[in-house]
């Protein structure tokens, strides 16, 4: 069964990600910036290496990547800069590696954010994914480690997931180079606007909080019509997040 699919794919022009050039550290004059985010130990660095041809060290323990690594690839005449962020469980906390990840998604304004999740631990991983979707509208879910999930008899319905999340979902097994051509193609389509995402917004917010968020969001949009993630900024302001307050005061948040 899977063999037939493979054969079908080989004929398809996307299969070999034609026109993919791994550019290594050459990241000059890029057209699009792509961020790789996700929980620790989901294989972000492995995806990064596969796309850029670089060899960031990978390891099977949470916390391997503590700095952000950058690399490039080009696909269909467009140059992409790829940024491998440290793994985080949430965007609500404060350690240095988590802050690097959050600040980049918030202030670096990547053109596409690839959220790498462990297919075998989807529920826990979605916690971060949902927070990222509050910040950005252009995202791709990379459903990684499907080989491992399969070994554990866990099957993830990627279509239903894509429907619920409102963003494209690509199953991959980056260690064995499976699904990467499809991932590149999807990144390309989101970056160029061929796919428009309608990301899921957090629904189970208690009513008082939701009212407050809506009020604050409205005020924000009135002052800064360019802001796309007003709801999330509102959530952070209600929490009293110092770096978001700072960024609002300095005008860093409002720049697009």
């Amino acid at each position: 069964m899977s063999k037939e699919i493979n054969n079908g794919c080989e004929g398809c022009k996307h299969y070999n990600a034609d026109g993919l050039k791994k550019l290594g550290v050459d990241i000059s004059d890029t057209d699009y910036v792509v961020a790789l985010a996700g929980n620790p130990n989901t294989g972000k660095s492995t995806v990064f290496n596969a796309l850029t041809g670089l060899r960031q060290h990978t390891g099977n323990w949470p916390g391997k990547t503590v700095t952000r690594a950058e690399g490039g690839f080009s696909y269909r005449q467009k140059k992409y800069k790829l940024i491998d962020l440290p793994g985080t469980y949430s965007l609500l906390s404060t350690s240095q590696d988590e802050e690097i990840a959050r600040d980049f998604i918030l202030f670096g304004k990547p053109d596409v954010t690839v959220i790498v999740v462990d297919a075998g631990r989807l529920e826990r991983n979605l916690n971060l994914a949902l927070q990222i979707l509050e910040i950005t509208n252009k995202a791709v879910l990379c459903l990684n480690l499907i080989d491992e999930a399969k070994r554990h008899h866990i099957i993830v319905d990627d279509r239903s997931l894509a429907r619920d999340l409102g963003i494209p979902v690509v199953p991959t097994s980056a260690r064995y180079n499976e699904g990467l051509p499809e991932l590149i193609q999807t990144i390309h389509e989101v970056a160029t606007g061929k796919i428009i995402c309608k990301p899921h917004k957090i629904k189970n917010v208690p009513k008082q909080i939701n009212t407050a968020v809506e009020k604050l969001n409205k005020a924000l949009l009135q002052q800064y019509p360019n802001i796309i993630n007003g709801r999330w900024i509102a959530l952070r302001l209600l929490e009293g997040d110092k770096s978001v307050i700072e960024a609002l005061k300095s005008g860093k948040l409002a720049q697009v």
Partner: protein, 475 residues
């Protein structure tokens, strides 16, 4: 101006609204996000049949993190990695030294002679710079090429978080963060890498403890020194067939002593200058993954090994030049090196070392890897043992460790000197790369100085105490 005003308006609106929400905002929000995540995951995930593999994972975990077996297994793995490194590195090391030192070096000398190079240029370049490089490659490459892949495979397999799990209690008792076990493990490869890895620790207090104590993980530049000295002075005390085992045991002992000092100093710091609460954290035990052997070999050889080797070479070349210069430039009737050795001999012997070792550690601040060749060269010069070596300031490799032993013994070395050198190699200032990394990570000269000087003082004290006890027992 208006921008600031509108921002202030929004912020005050936010604090106003915060009153209406009431307490527990953070938890309520987190719960809300989780509820969404659960609902979506439930829609998409199907579990089929039994989770046999998960059971296998937890079966392994029950053993490797058990109260009884956790520590023995950990020590057994560490000892095995060391033993494989020690016995495996021997043959390729002597092959490399035969090639680079016995074959290429005379060849270069011949070319220089026939080209009519002046003696000082020829000495500076070939006997100083080239030999330092050749030594570093011959001594470092083989053990690294064995150690790094083995270590990387353990890392890929998922063993490191289990080590952290086992050591968590001890770190907590020392007032340090459990994730320090991970940074400590990284330190066994390279202390600078270990210091950068401390970024995974959230609390600044616990992070400083992890940075300061990382130096007690024997790094890759120090393994060869430990291995060689153990073979010459400790392995030689027992019959030949046991010497490999006994050398491994003593190097293993030093490594474990380093772990002990990590706990001791963490405990000391957390009760004095770095007081504070131990923070709690979640550590995910990732699934075991079969290491991808070929890929591991490739990345750990090409990336880790060659990068570390390259760094060592960059530091070794100028160090070789310095050694050659200080032993060939005379002030009065003897060379700078001889003056320095004479000057430091008193203090050196007082703590069971000697002036040569101390001078070597000053020359080798940039890279611990070149300690042994520096010591040998300086010893030959100081004892005037013209039968060995090739003149002042020439680093050389001898064919067998027995011959190195002869030189050192002629230089007045005893078993005590050997043991104390092993201890001092564990307890002294970090190399210059690590010191610079500590400064970059902490941004503080104060803590960089503490991290640099503290182990050095400990080294002096420990060596002194050992020398005193030795004097009482052996006489």
């Amino acid at each position: 101006m208006t921008d600031k005003n509108t921002a202030d308006n929004i912020i005050s609106l936010a604090s106003e609204l915060r009153w209406n929400i009431g307490e527990g905002y953070h938890d309520k929000l987190a719960e809300g996000i989780y509820a969404d995540a659960t609902a979506i995951a439930k829609n998409a995930v199907k579990k089929e049949g039994e989770k046999r593999n998960l059971r296998l994972d937890s079966a392994i975990d029950n053993i490797v993190t058990s109260r009884i077996w956790g520590f023995p297994i950990m020590f057994f793995i560490l000892a095995t990695v060391l033993w494989l490194t020690i016995i495996g590195a021997n043959a390729p090391s002597s092959m490399l030294s035969y090639l680079l030192l016995d074959t290429v070096h005379p060849f270069l000398k011949n070319i220089a002679a026939s080209a009519g190079l002046p003696w000082w240029l020829d000495g500076f370049l070939i006997d100083g710079v080239y030999l330092a490089l050749a030594w570093v490659i011959a001594v470092m490459l083989p053990p690294m090429a064995i150690f790094f892949p083995l270590f990387t495979m353990l890392e890929d397999f998922g063993y490191l978080p289990r080590v952290a799990f086992n050591l968590d209690k001890l770190f907590k008792k020392s007032g340090a963060h459990g994730k320090q076990a991970l940074t400590m493990s990284m330190g066994f490869g390279c202390n600078a890498a270990g210091v950068i890895a401390t970024r995974i620790i959230d609390s600044p207090r616990e992070r400083l403890i992890a940075i300061i104590t990382n130096n007690f993980s024997l790094c890759n530049g120090r393994w060869p020194t430990q291995i060689l000295i153990a073979a010459i002075f400790i392995g030689a005390v027992v019959p030949g067939r046991f010497s490999g085992l006994i050398s491994t045991a003593s190097v293993f002992g030093i490594a474990v002593l380093g772990i002990f000092f990590t706990f001791l100093v963490s405990w000391f710091l957390s009760r004095t200058v770095l007081k504070g609460e131990v923070s709690t954290f979640n550590l995910e035990l990732p699934p075991y993954r079969p290491p991808n052997v070929l890929k591991t070999l490739y990345t750990s050889l090409i990336d880790r090994t060659l990068i570390v080797l390259w760094r060592a070479c960059i530091f070794a070349a100028p160090a070789g030049a310095v050694i050659w210069l200080i032993s060939n430039i005379n002030i009065g009737d003897q060379s700078i090196a001889a003056w320095a050795i004479e000057y430091m001999d008193g203090f050196g012997l007082f703590i069971g070392l000697n002036g040569v070792i101390l001078l070597a550690y000053i020359v080798a601040i940039p890279a611990n890897e070149i300690i042994i060749p520096t010591i040998l060269m300086l010893t030959v010069m100081a004892t005037g043992n013209a039968a060995y070596g090739e003149g002042a300031g020439v680093m050389f490799e001898l064919d067998s460790s027995a011959e190195i032993g002869n030189i050192l013994k002629a230089g007045g070395w005893t078993l005590l000197t050997g043991i104390n050198l092993m201890l001092f190699s564990l307890l002294h200032n970090p190399c210059s790369t690590t010191i610079y990394t500590i400064y970059k990570e902490t941004g503080s000269w104060k803590w960089t100085t503490v991290a640099t000087v503290l182990p050095l003082i400990m080294g002096f004290v420990v060596c002194f105490l050992v020398a005193q006890v030795w004097g009482l027992v052996v006489g």
